[in-house]
């Protein structure tokens, strides 16, 4: 891959990696009396590894000029591998934390292995490690194909991909050492947050520069979603993470907001991370790979427009539904509830658009597990957005909030929608990127599909049951008007469901391991004879959006 970089680009890369290494060293020295020292060391090791990789190939010959006539896919290939590695890590920790709730002794008297530290390692590993790498890889693929333009340079995609993974590594290793700011899904501390801003600006610049080079007059739907994802995540990340560090040598910072304002800002972030990271980004994926795999154009251009602007506008109001009956002013709660319910319209417009696109291709859904992954994802997207609107209603929320029902809802989205659309996209993308006719084994894709579906169903049903039972037990009164159950009785009632959840998660993890093996074997085996290597994306012409 490094041989594809020009000698100048290798030098630029070396300088950038050197700067990162120096920054890490400076941070480590400033924070030598703090846990920050470990983070500095990690940055130094990361930068040094990149430098060594570059130095080993520094004198390789210049690449052929003809590369400029082709798309630049090396970072995408690397991103696919990273996606699967993060999937296995994040889901493994997920199964572990699920097991901890059934058998709490699995902490082994080690601070790093307790639930409170593993839990953000699970959420960050899956959302940002697995999801983020999948989004970067697929967005760089989609933007080139739909714009019929090569990425503008060969250094910045690597900076974005590697820099982003450095952020994820800092985050996860930080949690194990006890570094967290306790804002859910925004746990990394100030230095990691600042680094992510740099990486994200580079990502945005890369994207908009590629669009500026496009040979298609129109910007294809998938790119609208990827753009919204990049822009809004930047806004959310910067505002929610405003904080004052204790010092340059201290990992700890204090949030600029307190109490009510902090709660509102946090859930404005938290809910819109779901909206723009886990929904808009993956809708971008869906709007490209689903029609491609089904070999049918998107059902309706009008629906695409309605759902896109509906989601962009309405979602940003919905965060306050996390704070019903709290000290947040009542009018804000009501606004959040109202917009959450209206949000069902654009959400279902997207889900319907996806499923109607499959009209006339249902025989393919039956035969092709890859397309079935995407179909099931669209179904789960529709179901979990419906559930989301339902749970945002104040009266329902009074029962569901603080219970496992919310956890079940989140995982219906995360497992059923986000992970399944990703696996569908990766099984479409992998053979194309490595110029193979198909995946190494279609049987293993089937095995993965059924593991994923069974795992998701067990998980979600277990959490629905435990959540609703929990909520009901907390508010049950006996005949003399006293609360019937103590808190601990509700916890004991959860035990069988916590075991079931662990089993469900384990199925899902096994599926991801099978998928990784399949992708690995596809890379290693079955190269097509040169004359048969037509790009699976049929000359890379974009689909024309239209009615």
């Amino acid at each position: 891959m490094i041989a594809q970089l020009t000698i100048t680009e290798r030098h630029i890369g070396l300088v950038l990696a050197g700067l990162v290494t120096l920054m890490g060293a400076a941070l480590g020295i400033a924070g030598r009396n703090d846990v920050l020292a470990y983070q500095g060391l990690l940055i130094v090791v990361f930068g040094a590894l990149v430098m060594i990789a570059l130095l080993r190939n520094l004198d390789a010959p210049e690449p052929y000029e003809s590369r400029l006539a082709e798309y630049y896919d090396d970072p995408i290939r690397f991103g696919i591998v990273l996606t699967m590695l993060w999937a296995i890590f994040g889901m493994f920790v997920g199964v572990w934390v699920a097991a901890l709730l059934a058998w709490p002794e699995l902490t082994f008297d080690a601070a790093w292995a307790s639930f409170g530290r593993l839990r953000p390692a699970h959420t960050t590993g899956v959302i940002f490690g697995f999801g983020g790498n999948a989004l970067i890889a697929t967005s760089l693929h989609v933007v080139q194909r739909t714009s019929r333009a090569r990425l503008p340079d060969q250094v910045s995609p690597w900076f974005v991909l590697l820099g982003y993974n450095l952020f994820c590594l800092l985050a996860v290793s930080g949690y194990f050492a006890g570094i967290t700011q306790s804002k859910e899904y925004a746990e990394p501390e100030w230095y990691a947050d600042l680094w992510l801003v740099v990486v994200w600006v580079a990502y945005f610049a890369l994207y908009i520069r590629t669009l500026a080079r496009r040979k298609e007059p129109h910007i294809y739907v998938a790119n609208w979603y990827f753009m919204a994802f990049i822009l809004v995540v930047a806004i959310l990340h910067i505002v929610n993470n405003l904080a004052v560090p204790v010092g340059i040598g201290n990992a700890k910072a204090y949030s600029a907001f307190s109490g009510v304002q902090d709660a509102m800002t946090q859930w404005w972030y938290g809910h819109n991370a779901v909206a723009f990271f886990l929904t808009a980004g993956f809708l971008g994926m869906m709007y490209y790979y689903l029609p491609k795999r089904a070999e049918r154009p998107i059902y309706s251009y009008r629906l695409s427009i309605i759902s896109f602007w509906g989601i962009t506008f309405l979602y940003m109001w919905a965060g306050s539904h996390h704070l019903h009956y709290t000290a947040l002013p009542h009018w804000v709660q009501t606004l959040g509830m109202t917009f959450s319910v209206v949000l069902l319209v654009p959400s279902w417009a997207s889900a319907a658009n996806a499923l109607l696109t499959l009209n006339g291709a249902w025989h393919k859904v039956r035969d092709d597990a890859t397309l079935r992954f995407m179909m099931v994802a669209a179904v789960f997207y529709g179901l979990s957005t419906f559930e989301g609107s339902f749970l945002a209603i104040r009266a329902v929320n009074s029962l569901s909030h603080y219970t496992d029902w919310t956890v079940g809802h989140v995982h219906a989205g995360a497992l059923g929608w986000v992970a399944m659309i990703t696996f569908g996209a990766l099984y479409t993308l992998t053979p194309a990127m490595w110029k193979r006719a198909r995946m190494y084994s279609n049987t293993l894709v089937e095995v993965h599909f059924w593991c994923a579906v069974i795992g998701t169903l067990i998980y979600v049903f277990a959490m629905w049951n435990s959540g609703i039972i929990q909520g009901l037990m907390w508010r049950t009164y006996n005949e003399s008007g006293m609360l019937t159950y103590s808190f601990i009785e509700s916890l004991v009632a959860m035990h069988p469901y916590y075991i079931a959840r662990t089993v469900g998660g384990f199925f899902f993890l096994i599926g991801a391991v099978v998928g990784t093996y399949n992708i690995f074997m596809t890379i290693r085996h079955e190269p097509l004879p040169l004359r048969q290597r037509t790009d699976a994306f049929g000359g890379d012409r974009p689909l024309v959006p239209g009615e």
């Binding site: 901890l100 953000p120 669009l211 500026a212 204090y254 304002q261 509102m264 009074s398 609360l483 808190f487």
Partner: protein, 250 residues
Amino acid sequence: MPEAHRKLERTAVGFVLAIIGVSSIGGLVEIAPLFTIDETVEKVEDMRVYTPLELAGRNIYIREGCYACHSQMIRTLRDEVERYGPYSLAVESQYDHPMLWGSKRTGPDLARVGGKYSDEWHVAHLVDPRAVVPQSKMPAYAWLQRNALKTDDLPGHLTAMRRVGVPYTDVMIENATRDAFAQAYPDSDMAEGVAERYGADTNIRAFDGDPGRLTEMDALVAYLQIVGQLTDAAHEKRTGEQVVQAEETE
């Protein structure tokens, strides 16, 4: 509509600006007024800031991810008020950077845990939760008793808190490290200073049972014992008022 939109689709910059504009409205309408409307947070006289030891304990609470399983927000629902105590007021988290309202109750709500159990109970519970509550799912935090508390950077912590708006005085910042020791060492000469700076009601005692050594256990227990105790405002409000009846469920 599609024709106008087809034009927009041709300009990347226009599209970018449209996304920023459309997505900003909701957040602006909901968040900005919270900072400017006086009624967002009620004013009470007796609200006090965390002592350095309590702040250090709160940071340990954050570090160990306690917020992932324990909320600190009692909602205005009848069953919650009867189970946990008066519902939480905005002012109670006025000095919480960040807030720890939480989103999940795998364990019970802790908004009124301060003063509810003895220090000994907390220490025993943190060392081995199942020794006190046999059915508990909580991990054991035995190492808190082994770890000495880091105190040399406490003045920096108070300074940072002041920068984000918590009214710590210069004297409080200067004495932060000393006050942390003194609060867990009631017989020392320095203990008076803590009461002087943070109020006569401040808990000054050997939280982990060993006054000679300042451990992370001291700090966490000191914090847990003050949760919901920074002001009496919530108790003064008549409980039951504004409380929503939970739906009858058998």
